[in-house]
């Protein structure tokens, strides 16, 4: 079998999602029998030119230069897969999209005039066609593995669509929202993490982004009934996937 030629490339991010490839550890060596990392700066000194069979992109697009690089990658790749919250909804960088980036520059940099950034940090899908999105901040390495294995076997990869609540139920977790009155984004957040936060006695903060057909407005109402301060409800939605259009709706209500 011909090895799949894979590229892993980052935009504005923390590197955590591409690290999940290296976190596959021993499985990584086994995977190497079937795929070749032709471009992966975190792991390899040499980069091979495209075309690539699969390109995994991490991070959000936040500078004009990144827009150009992204377009080039799209041209060079059969499949483009966005991995992680940054690449699927703008991620943490997108928090600046509600503010004036010029003001942010002045706050952080002594010479703001040297900084060239776009007004907004956006997911790659804003600029190019993206074939698949794998969620999470970080993306789960099990999901990544499964995705690659399905492609290798010639299957159409399947990804979750339901909510974190369902994973909670499957695990038999005590519901922190119902029983303890803690704010939890689980009802509107995409599954895939194994209901991690409720398993550690805390509410979900939405790092997998909105589930399919997410209804954040309903949860918003429930949170108000719990007497959570409006500003704090807003901050809860305005975290790692706040720029997704579903969550943005609730956030803007409080702007």
């Amino acid at each position: 079998m011909r090895k799949l030629k894979v590229a892993v490339f980052k935009f504005s991010s923390c590197d955590g999602c591409q690290l999940q490839f290296l976190n596959m550890e021993e499985e990584l060596l086994r995977l190497m029998d079937n795929i070749e990392f032709a471009l992966f700066y975190e792991a390899r000194r040499f980069a091979e030119p495209g075309p690539y069979d699969i390109t995994f992109v991490e991070g959000s697009v936040s500078t004009p230069h990144e827009v150009e690089l992204l377009a080039k990658l799209r041209e060079d790749s059969k499949l483009v897969v966005a991995v992680g919250a940054c690449a699927t909804s703008g991620g943490i960088q997108a928090l600046r999209n509600w503010a004036d980036v010029e003001e942010f520059k002045r706050q952080v940099y002594p010479r703001p005039e040297w900084i060239e950034v776009l007004k907004n940090a956006e997911p790659p899908s804003k600029y190019i066609r993206v074939d698949y999105e794998i969620r999470g901040c970080p993306v789960s390495k099990e999901q990544l593995m499964l995705f690659v294995l399905q492609l290798l076997k010639g299957k159409t990869p399947s990804l979750p669509v339901d909510s974190v609540c369902l994973e909670c139920k499957r695990k038999g977790n005590v519901c922190v929202l119902v029983v303890r009155g803690m704010p939890c984004l689980g009802p509107v957040t995409m599954s895939g993490c194994g209901a991690l936060c409720p398993s550690y006695s805390r509410g979900c903060y939405g790092c997998y982004g909105p589930m399919a057909d997410s209804r954040p407005a309903v949860l918003n109402k429930r949170l108000k009934e719990l007497n959570i301060r409006p500003k704090d409800i807003q901050l809860l939605f305005k975290q790692f996937t706040g720029w997704s259009k579903e969550f943005r709706g609730v956030i803007d209500e409080y702007e």
């Binding site: 955590g16 690290l19 390899r44 704090d232």
Partner: protein
């Protein structure tokens, strides 16, 4: 040999984040060095303003996927100072466990996947694995174990979810930790073997007079607390740290870097910790190091890989004790007193001192932040290393010179993602710098 040339690396590989390297050589002398950073700025300090204090550790974790625990810990400790929280000993021990787990995982990643291939002429771990499958497999088991430690305590290894200001969201039970010890004999053996393997690597000859900065306390090899000391007599409290620094902006590389006031560039990280705290390393570790003819101090930056491997072995031995002696805390966390105030804290990230300072409003919202990550502190020294390496670089052909220069940068395990939350975007306008 062409004595006038330029060494240019557009994409520094095997570092975390995006950086570039530019060296100008004229008449057999290195004239200019630029370690550029072209990762986009991410504005963390700006958007942390207005956030609630309890959100800060989760948010700052996202500065870096390689050392999130370090960000969680420095920020939690700084905020706890404002809220007047003294965490229990049990919580402190648990923090040390997850932190040392991150050391193991991050150090083995760097030693094996990012750095060692250089010494042996390989372009990646994957090509190294073909030639030396045994040590690579053992290293990966070791790294996996470190990740497992972080996962058990934190829920996942990148951006753990269990930590919070004041402690942990829930009690981590002893029986959750104990499975980690099941494999310990093997893991310990591998850590020792990795150190022995590293001690046999062909390490380039190189020496420079460096001021090494790290935490130090007299009880233990430092992780979460201590005074800030240097091998040249500095000894200060974390609250004094910012006052001792000058922040500089180099025109050519458009990046901020730090120096010690009146003293100059300095180095943080494993080499600094090792040199300043060698006496506190486990005797088993020192024995291996010394049986290979090394000890402390090490003043060759290429030997940072030795310090890293020594710390891995030390951390595994410490983790064994910490896990065996672990007692569950009565309460997982302490609530603090909401009040206005300023708090600063430093902990030892795998790459070195990580400083956080916050100002909170009366209601617990952040109003001001300063974060000084290790990589930005090391930048000035990385460039000095490259200058000092000049004599060697000019004798090599272009390909080898470029490789050695890159390797010298990788000595520092630079984490550009960390650094760029405030570093300048590379300012590409120099006539000799080509763009894509």
């Amino acid at each position: 040999m062409n004595t006038n040339r330029v060494i240019e690396v557009d994409y520094l590989a095997r570092v975390e984040g995006e950086g570039s390297l530019y060296l100008e050589i004229e008449n057999g002398k290195v004239l200019r060095v630029e370690v550029g950073i072209f990762e986009a700025p991410r504005f963390f300090e700006a958007f942390l303003n207005g956030r609630k204090y309890y959100e800060v550790p989760d948010i700052t974790a996202r500065i870096c996927g390689i050392c999130p625990v370090a960000y969680v810990m420095s920020s939690s400790k700084a905020l706890e100072k404002i809220l007047q929280i003294d965490v229990s000993d049990e919580v402190e021990q648990l923090r040390k466990i997850i932190y040392l787990g991150e050391w193991v995982e991050s150090h083995v990643l760097h030693v094996l996947m990012l750095h060692a291939p250089d010494f042996l002429g390989h372009d990646s771990l994957l090509s190294l694995a073909k030639e030396q499958p045994d040590i690579v497999r053992k290293g990966l088991v070791l790294k996996g174990w470190g990740n497992q430690v972080v996962r058990v305590v934190g829920g996942r290894s990148v951006h753990p979810v269990s930590c919070r200001v004041g402690g942990f969201h829930r009690v981590i039970r002893k029986e959750e930790l104990l499975p980690l010890t099941r494999d310990l004999r093997r893991v310990e053996g591998y850590a020792k073997e990795l150190l022995e393997w590293v001690l046999e690597l062909p390490i380039p000859d190189f020496k420079r007079d460096i001021e090494f900065l790290s935490l130090r306390n007299e009880e233990e090899y430092p992780v979460l607390h201590g005074r800030i000391v240097s091998n040249k007599g500095l000894n200060i409290h974390e609250d004094e740290f910012e006052e001792c620094l000058t922040t500089e902006q180099a025109r050519y590389s458009t990046s901020l870097r730090y120096r010690l006031k009146g003293r100059g560039p300095y180095v943080v990280g494993p080499l600094a910790r090792y040199n300043n705290n060698y006496d506190l390393l486990k005797p088993e570790v020192r024995e291996v190091v010394e049986s290979h003819g090394y000890k402390a101090p090490l003043s060759n930056s290429f030997q940072s890989i030795i310090a890293r491997a020594a710390e891995v072995y030390h951390a595994v031995l410490e983790l064994e004790e910490l896990i065996n002696n672990y007692r569950e805390p009565k309460q997982p966390y302490m609530e603090g007193m909401l009040c206005e105030g300023v708090g600063a804290a430093v902990t030892e990230a795998p790459r070195g001192l990580l400083y956080h300072r916050y100002t909170l409003s009366e209601k617990g919202y952040v109003v001001n932040v300063n974060i000084i990550p290790p990589t930005s502190q090391n930048l000035a020294s990385i460039e000095q290393d490259l200058l000092a390496l000049g004599d060697k670089l000019v004798t090599l052909d272009q390909t080898r010179a470029q490789w050695l220069a890159e390797q010298a940068v990788r000595n520092y395990d630079p984490c550009i993602s960390c650094a760029t939350h405030f570093l300048k975007l590379n300012y590409v306008s120099k006539e000799h710098r080509h763009t894509e």
